[in-house]
């Protein structure tokens, strides 16, 4: 098993006639994903670079392919909210947002809408989702990297960083640990699905035996995962790699990213995250190479 996507997940790509969207659609299909169509308003009737039908709207795409359940939103940041709203309105329950620099004001609305429509949104700034050997979505593992970096297995990988999703998966694969699913949740101030949301999916998945997370300073998503481990919502072993300890030694008022603009109330630093996770029973890695070593202790 895996979470979110497998070889039977019928997908569309919104923004398929753009550079990122077109490339992602072709690479997804090449990996075995069931990509059925693309959507670009005004380009309906065309055929995408990879030979897929292009529709003007999600509505028309779903009329033609009612089995579509997932959309990769590969449109530029200013158009993301409209594309996501359209996907939700026409019944798509799983959405992955590729674009970076989506305004937080748009993300917070998408979070509320996802709850209302009982849908799952991964992103913004998500590198994508891969269930190795089955399907991938987004730009994760492009140019044939997918087959050397990722392999099927028992480890769920959740990362705020796209590059580190792959680096960690490669280290795991090299050490003989495959992944059930690996995904980037994005490193924005607010993301639509946080560590707990995704870890809860892994918790339900029979194949996943352990969860690896890559976290960064800022926000409280890592601390929330620690809380979920404390209250037994998450019971599977967790190995965490948290970046940004150096920031604790910077002069006060130095803000990396947007850490200063969100409620933290004493949390949010690398040390706070590491302590919270350690107290909740997570094993803390200092480098990607530590992760397989720590996994052998819990599996």
């Amino acid at each position: 098993m895996s979470i979110l996507i497998d070889q039977n997940t019928a997908m569309i790509v919104q923004g398929i006639t753009g550079k990122e969207g077109g490339r992602a659609a072709q690479e997804m299909a090449a990996y075995g994903s069931l990509v059925l169509a693309g959507v670009t308003p005004g380009k309906g009737g065309q055929t995408s670079a990879g030979g897929l039908p292009v529709f003007d709207s999600v509505r028309e795409a779903r009329e033609c392919f009612p089995e579509i359940s997932m959309s990769l939103v590969a449109v530029p940041a200013p158009f993301v909210f409209d594309a996501v709203a359209e996907a939700l309105y026409y019944g798509i329950k799983l959405i992955n947002i590729l674009a970076e620099k989506v305004p937080v004001s748009a993300t917070v609305k998408m979070i509320a809408l996802a709850r209302f429509y009982k849908a799952i949104i991964i992103g913004p700034s998500s590198v994508g989702i891969i269930s190795p050997g089955k399907a991938k979505l987004g730009s994760i593992g492009s140019s044939g990297m997918a087959r050397t970096v990722f392999s099927p297995g028992p480890v769920g990988v959740i990362s705020k960083s796209g590059g580190m999703t792959s680096e960690i998966s490669k280290v795991l694969t090299d050490a003989g640990w495959g992944q059930s699913t690996a995904l980037g949740i994005g490193g924005d101030i607010l993301v639509c699905s946080d560590f707990v949301d995704v870890a809860s999916q892994f918790e339900q998945d029979k194949e996943t035996k352990a969860i690896v997370i890559f976290g960064e300073i800022g926000g409280t998503y890592e601390e929330k995962l620690a809380d979920a481990m404390q209250n037994k919502t998450i019971t599977k072993p967790v190995v965490a790699l948290i970046a940004g300890q150096f920031a604790d030694y910077l002069p006060p008022d130095t803000v990396l990213g947007h850490a200063g603009a969100i409620v933290s109330q004493g949390r949010g630093s690398a040390v706070s995250k590491i302590n919270a996770l350690r107290q909740a029973g997570a094993l803390i890695a200092e480098t990607p190479e530590d992760i397989p070593v720590l996994l052998t202790k819990v599996l």
Binding site: V102, I140, G163
Partner: protein, 354 residues
């Protein structure tokens, strides 16, 4: 983007929040048309200005120029002001804390309140905003009551105006601290801290930070960047900078960043570090790096360690090898056969050999 106090107060005033009568003071401003005593405030983008000597009371007109000069020379956490704000003194009966920001715990905006101003976000009470409902009277009334603050129509109006700013300006933080309450029951913003969303106002902004060390770092992606500064520190090295270029940057951007990072004086090494890229064109990235290197004067002699993997890596490394041979750079290339941490140790060994 963090606004200065006077910029923030302009926005507050535009949305109908009362701010003190004020005048902007330049280095050559000789006087202001305000009643004395007045308050003179250094316009720097940092908190705790009062403790750092950035806010002074000016009792009478004769003290204006010396106070002005002193403030322009007072460095506050690394910042010297470009201008000062002179404001009428407000007689306050109470000082409160109010702000709107985002909360990752609840995945929503939050109203933060404290009946005692001067405190920060870390001590305020948090009230989650349901984005579908917005900020209605009932919500503000209940929050104020729970925070022990007056539930007057005037204060409710101020908070709803703050919410208007937060949502219409798509801000990340709108904070008034202190919010003065006068004897007449008026509310006046004593300070303004507004952070706008870079995704809205400056979408091509790149995060760059000077650090105290002597190893220039070009890391791809924010995550790898932060992690590798930690890894370098553990190996005994010190990063000269934090920078991130994420996504699939064109060569021109990498070239510019290379020049920025490596033109810092007294560098002892350069570390081009990244994990296994998903879609970043490594050749394009390294082309930008090579072009940036070539433009550096004097020509760098310190060791350069590159550790990177991803699409078109082989082509990229062949090109770099040629450039290094032509220019005589002390360049060392590694792929995924060694870890990021190991490449840090190799760089430090090379530096210590020099």
């Amino acid at each position: 983007m963090k606004l200065l106090e006077h910029e923030g107060k302009k926005i507050l005033a535009r949305y109908g929040v009362t701010v003190p009568v004020s005048a902007l003071v330049q280095a050559d401003t000789m006087s202001v048309v305000l009643p004395y005593p007045l308050v003179l405030k250094s316009q720097v983008p940092v908190g705790n200005r009062k403790q750092a000597g950035g806010i002074v009371m000016v009792e009478q007109a004769e003290q204006f120029v010396p106070s002005r000069d002193k403030l322009f020379q007072t460095n506050i956490n690394g910042h010297l002001p470009q201008c000062l704000l002179a404001e009428a003194l407000i007689k306050a009966q109470a000082e409160h804390y109010v702000s709107f920001c985002y909360n990752t715990d609840t995945q929503s905006p939050a109203l933060m309140l404290n009946k005692d101003g001067g405190t920060g976000i870390s001590q305020a009470r948090i009230f989650s905003v349901d984005i579908l409902l917005g900020v209605e009277n009932f919500f503000v009334r209940n929050a104020l009551a729970q925070a022990g603050m007056p539930t007057s129509a005037e204060l409710i109006a101020v908070i709803k105006k703050l919410w208007n700013i937060f949502s219409a300006e798509r801000a990340l933080l709108v904070e008034i601290n202190p919010l003065f309450q006068t004897e007449a029951g008026e509310f006046i913003a004593g300070d303004a801290k507004i952070i706008l969303d870079d995704a809205v106002v400056d979408p091509i902004a790149r995060s760059f930070l000077n650090l105290a060390g002597d190893i220039g770092i070009l890391a791809s992606g924010g995550g790898a960047s932060m992690l590798n500064i930690d890894i370098l520190a553990r190996a005994g090295g010190r990063a000269a900078n934090y920078v991130e270029y994420s996504g699939n940057p064109p060569a021109s951007i990498v070239k510019e960043l290379t020049r920025t990072v490596l033109s810092k004086p007294n560098l002892r090494g350069c570390w081009v570090i990244g994990g296994t890229a998903n879609f970043t064109d490594i050749y394009e990235t390294m082309l930008g790096f090579a072009e940036g290197l070539r433009e550096l004067q004097p020509k760098p002699t310190f060791p350069i360690v590159v550790r990177r993997d991803g699409p078109r890596q082989a082509e990229a490394f062949a090109m770099l090898r040629q450039v290094a041979a032509d220019e005589g750079y002390n360049l060392h290339l590694f792929g995924p056969e060694i870890s990021m941490a190991e490449s840090a140790r190799k760089l430090l060994l090379l530096i210590n050999k020099v």
